[in-house]
Structures are given as structure tokens and as C-alpha cells.
């Protein structure tokens, strides 16, 4: 079980993540929702060890991950928010690099990398440099890299960004199967429909603070709204969006 306890991160005296706590249980897909700039990716970077928290801690099976960061990383698969890869490597070379860095034997790396590229329809482009890939192709390489070492914990930050409908559907099936195998999955997104289709639990963050943390069903009942979009609008959106749209149109015409 992955637990985030009272996580706070300050940038220049401004808390971008403020006393955030939630739990991600094995076998469940937990959605972490919030509008742009709400602190989702900062939380994720702290969980993965790319950033240090100002206060608070991340526990894995009750143990602070800082006690054994290497052990934690061995069990972690991560898809970052932005598809930043070594663009001069080919798709296959990138997976080989990650597989080797994960300590996998050579034959296993090659076999798994080719299999994953094939499953994600990248086989024909495996020898092309990543700089020539589309956004969706890069995203599929990142997902493959995150799964290569069969991790127990998956942290997926906007994994469907730029991905086509078929691949997105495939990915949703994949996540359900992985959750069925007992993996701990944290799914970060601002696309509510995707989260609603995939996640049992959701955590909603707004301006660095947790606004809600419960199952989608319970939140619907509690707030008496039929969809996650309705819940989200009630919790985080303070603006009259129709009025903003009118302002945009008048700005275009002015």
C-alpha cells in the first residue's frame, strides 16, 4: 500500500502542495484529479523521489520510502507528465537503456522491449529516432518503459496525453488487468471521463489542497450529482465558464 502523509512543498514561500494525504491500495486504481497548476505533478514528483518534500512523507507498506529509496525505485514504474525522452535514441534503444538500467538481463530486455513495442504498434518505428515520433508514439514508449520491469507500483501522470482512441482503450483494459494482478496504481489526470472509466477511488486536489478523497460512487451519492464532472465542478471551479467564453468571443471580435 502506498500512503502519502501530510505532504507539503513550498516554492518561494508559496505552498504548491499543502498537507496532502491519501492512500493508494494494491489492486485498486486511484485517480488523482485536479485542474492545471493544482499540484498534481509536484505530488507525483515527490512520490517518485524526483523532488524532495518540504514536510511530510511517503510510505510504502508502512515504511518511509526514504529509508530505502533504491528498493522503492525497483518496485516503481513511472510515466511522467511530459514526454521527455532522449530524442536521439530510437524507440528500441530507449527501452533497452531503461531495461538495462533496471538491471534486467540482456536477453530479457530485448525480448520484452520488442514485445511491448509490438503490442503498442511501434514495431515498424522501433529503429527510428524518437525525435521523429508523434506525441502519442512517445507516450507509448514511455508506458512501455514504465512496464518493462513488471513493477508493483505504477504512477502514471497523464498517460493518455496525445494517445489515439484505440490505444487509450487498450491502455484502459491493460490497467484493469494490472490492477487485477494486485498492482498499486496511481492515475493522475485532468481528463475526467478517462478517470471515471478507469478508477475506483479518486482524490481531488485544488490549489495544493485535497478537496475530496473517496470512491467515485460515494462522491456521486454525497454530492448528489450524476457524474465526476459535476463533482469536480462543484469542488474546484469557481468561475462562471459561460461568462468566460463570452469574454473570449468579445476579445476575438474587438
Amino acid at each position: 500500500m502506498l500512503e502519502v502523509q501530510h505532504l507539503t512543498k513550498y516554492y518561494l514561500n508559496t505552498p504548491v502542495v499543502n498537507d496532502v494525504s491519501f492512500v493508494v491500495k494494491p489492486g485498486e486504481i486511484t485517480g488523482y484529479l485536479g485542474p492545471n497548476g493544482s499540484g498534481k505533478s509536484t505530488t507525483v514528483k515527490i512520490i517518485t523521489g524526483l523532488l524532495e518534500a518540504t514536510t511530510g512523507k511517503v510510505l510504502l507498506d508502512g515504511r518511509d520510502v526514504r529509508e530505502d529509496p533504491i528498493g522503492f525505485r525497483r518496485r516503481l514504474g513511472y510515466v511522467p507528465e511530459e514526454a521527455i525522452l532522449y530524442s536521439y535514441l530510437t524507440g528500441l534503444e530507449y527501452l533497452q537503456l531503461i531495461g538495462r538500467l533496471r538491471g534486467l538481463p540482456r536477453a530479457e530486455v530485448n525480448r520484452k522491449a520488442n514485445q511491448l513495442l509490438d503490442c503498442f504498434s511501434l514495431q515498424s518505428s522501433r529503429h527510428a529516432m524518437i525525435s521523429t515520433y508523434s506525441k502519442g508514439m512517445k507516450q507509448r514508449v514511455l508506458i512501455s518503459a514504465a512496464l518493462l520491469h513488471d513493477p508493483d507500483i505504477l504512477v502514471l501522470d497523464e498517460p493518455l496525453s496525445g494517445i489515439d482512441v484505440t490505444s487509450a482503450q487498450l491502455f484502459r483494459y491493460l490497467l484493469n488487468q494490472l490492477a487485477g494482478q494486485g498492482k498499486t496504481i496511481l492515475y493522475i489526470s485532468h481528463v475526467l471521463e478517462a478517470v471515471e472509466k478507469v478508477c475506483e477511488q479518486v482524490v481531488i486536489i485544488y490549489k495544493g489542497r485535497i478537496m475530496a478523497s473517496d470512491s467515485v460512487e460515494r462522491l456521486r451519492d454525497l454530492m448528489n450529482v450524476p457524474s465526476l464532472e459535476g463533482i469536480f465542478s462543484q469542488l474546484v471551479e469557481e468561475r462562471d465558464l459561460e461568462a468566460v467564453a463570452r469574454d473570449i468571443v468579445s476579445a476575438i471580435h474587438s
Binding site: 533504491i70 536521439y88 538500467l101 534486467l104 540482456r106
Partner: protein, 553 residues
Amino acid sequence: MSGDPDRPFALLVRHFFGRFFDTESLSPQGDPHVNVNQALGILAAPGAFFVIVCRPLGLWGWSLEVVRYLFLSISMIVMGLIMVLEWDALFPDRRDYQILTPLPLRLSSLFFAKTIALGLFLVIFLIDVNFFGAFFWPGIDQGRHLFNLFMSHLTAMLAGGLFTALSIGALQGVLITLLPGKAYRRTSATIQTVLMTLLVMLLFLTPLLASAMQSLAESANSLIYYYPGYWFIGLYERMRPATHDPVLLRLGTLALRGLWIAAVLFIGTYLPFYRRHARKMLETPEPSASGASRLGSWAGDVIERTLVPRPIESAVFHFIGQTIRRSIKHRLFLATYGGFGVALALMTSRSDHDGLLRLSLMLSFVLISGLRAAFNFPSELRANWAFQITETTDIDEYLTATRKWIAACAILPLFGLLAPAELIFFPWRAALFHLAFGAVLSLLLMELLFLDFRKVPFTCSRLPGKVNLVGLSVAYILGFTLYSSYLADLESWLIHVPAAAAIYFVAVGAACWLLNHWRRGSIKTAAEAFSSPAGLRYDDPDDPVVRTLGLTQ
């Protein structure tokens, strides 16, 4: 440069001008405006320096020709270096086309804006490089008619610089005209690297070429006709004779002819193939059907089985090779060191037997220090999260992989390349001893230079301006001199005393082992001090806000 924001064409010119300072090879992470000022300042400095040195000398005849050559060489080589660094910016790149093509702009507007920006860019740098030289030249040349002195100097310098710039532009134009997209991309990168090596080599050979000019001209040696630097000395001589040498005067004709040919080729290829280039840039390259060749796969397998059997070693080893092969910035950086090395080799090969002994040591010093400097420059820094997130083992494996790469892909090939020359110039026993002596010493040098290098090459950020250039230069010059000179003397002695030679090899082996042991110990100590595994460095530590004297430590 200022552009009128209300006029799209002026804005385009300004945009393209700014993009010349925004190339990966010139300013990997810098501010373009700072780079303009820095570049102009740095490039004006050599001319000013030579003016100060040469003004009191009162030169004439061949001495005057030599100094003319120094100025001309700087003008030509600097313009060449600028064009090589701007190689990918001569035509609008993919990003330009993707952003500008959907806008209501004609391709001809893009072309003329780019051409004007390029012209401005070249003129500014030409004037900058030659400003002090031309302005104060009348004090160096003792002749009369100050205006004539000034104008003939300026004309020769500008003609020489323009020739180099146009030749390199024309070379790219010809390549883009003749080669299909994929072949162009491959060849272009190789030619850019070769040109960089060549220009840096010529820069360091400038004094040698200047001093060789008189003997080449007086003996009417045909070699003098093959080097464009001498052509423009000929042009200068025609405008303002200093020696009245007939060979130099004939070379002036070649300069004019060369300038015309370069200009015609440049205009003839740059203009018509602009449209074709635009199409090529917007087309996504076809993925290669196959990966590594059969030989490449076999070599990769052998390396993985024998040299880097552990997965992390293998990852880092391949990553270093792939980055050096494919990163323009790193290739050009290493080409600079390569040019320096080739210049040293050429200068040394002219000298005596001891010079040949020093050659391999000099080259290995340049190679290893060059690699260390290149490894410090990040490549696609933001992608280093992949290393951070997967760091799951003792960092010694990462560091060992770096050493193995240097030994297998740099030191071994260097001595392999030198071996035939060694076997030609020395008896085979002496040649083998010399190669073994140099290779073993190179390994020790690598251990010393990489003692505190706790990173995966190309993955750590680098803050500009932190390096103490003066201190570093002194250390390198001292190290270089001691390493190549004194150790060549030691070798000359060792070869005659087998017992001492055996002790030398054992001692170097022991020193390598001790340095490795010390490095591992220091990593362990750091880990114990912080109660966590000592990790790799991904961030160059910034200077503290307040620097204390450390008296309480």
C-alpha cells in the same frame, strides 16, 4: 538589432537573426542576447591583441607578410567556425517551417528575410573580427597613404572571411542539391564535424603556416597553390606589395577566382533549393527498416558479453556511445579537441625522435581531457529523469562503465591508429614497448582525471561561468607539459632498463588500483555520513548565497 514590430518582414528578419544565436551548437542553454555580446567581444579580442603586440615592431618584407597572414588567418578561420556552428541555421529549420508556414507569409518573404538576416550576421561578425586589426593597421605597416593602407588591409581581410563563409555555405548548398534527404542528413553531420576539426587544426597551425610561407613561395613549391589562406595573402600583395614575390602575386588571381566560384555556387544552390529544403524539412523522415548492421550487432554482443556484462554497465556504455555519435553539440566539442590534437600531431611529426615519443602521450592527454570536458556537458538534460528514477544499485557500476568506455572506445582505438606509424618509425620491440607504455599511462591519467567524476556522462546540469579558466588553463598546460615531456624522457630511459620497466608497469597498475580503491572508499564514506546510498550527481551545485570562510569547519 531592432525590428519594427508593425512590419512583418522586419520582424521576420529580426526573428531569423535571433535564431542564429539560438542553435544547439552555439548556445545550448544560454540567453541569445548575452551570447551576441559575448561572442562579439570574444571574437574582437585576438585582433586587438595582435595589434598591441605588433604595432611597436615596425614590420616590412616577409615579416609584414607573416603578420598579415596572422590577421587573415583569424578572419578566415573565425568566419569558417561561425558558419560551421551555424550549419543547421543557414536554412530555416523544421521548427521555423512548422510555426511560420501556417501564417499568411509567402515563401519568398521567408527566403529574403533569411537571406538578409544571414547577410547581416556575416557582415557584423566580419567587421567585428577585423575591427581592431583594420583600424590600427596603419601603425603596423610603416607605409604611407594611411587610407590606402587601411582599405587594402580591410579588403583582404573581408575577402578572405567572405570566401570561407561562402565556401562553407556553398558546400552545404551543393550537398542539399545532390543528396536525397536521408543521405544529406548523414553526410551533413559528418562534414560539419570534419570542417570543425579542420578549422581548429588550421587555427593552431597558423604560426607554422605563416612561417612556412616564405620558403614555400621562394621555392615555388606547388603546395602553396592549394591553401586558400595563401591565396588571399597574394590578393593583399597585389593591392599593397610588401615583397613583390611573383608567386604571391599569382596567388592573388586564385583568390579572386575562388571568391567568385564560391559566390556563384552559394547563390546558385542556396536560392533554387530553398523551396526544396522547405519540403524536405516538413516531411517526416521514413523510419529505418532495420537497426544495427549484422557486424554492428555482433560487435555489440561481444562487447556486452566480455566487457560490460552487468546490465547497468551495459546501459551507460551504450548511452555514452550513442550520445557522442548523435549529439551535434558533443560531436563539435570533441571535434575541437580533435583539431587541436591533429595540429599537435602535425607539429610534433616535424620534430625529432623524442617528438615522436611525445606524440602518443600528447594525443592521449588531449583525448582524455577532451572527453572529460565533453562528459560534463549535458545532453537533453530534462530527459535525465530516466536515470534518476532507475538508479537502483551501487553507483560504482555507472562509474566503471564510463571508464570502460574511455578505455575501449578512446584509448584503445587511439593507440591502434598510432601502431602502424610506431612500427614504421621504431624497431618492433621499441614500438610495442612505446604503445604499452603510453596505453598504461593513459589509463592512469583517466583514473586521475575522473577521480571525482560522480555522474553518468551527459546527465548532469552545468552552470556556466563556474570554471576558473585561468586556473584550469595553468593546470592543463602544466599537466600537459609534464605528462608529455617528462614521461617521454622516462620512457627513453626505461626502454634500456628492463627491470625498471617492469617496476613501472607494476607501479602504474598499483596506482590505478589505489585510485579505484580510494574512489570506492570515498563513495562509501559519503553514504555513511548521510545515512543513505551515495547517489550520482544530476545537478551542478550552485554557489552559496553567502560564501563563508569555513573557519568553523
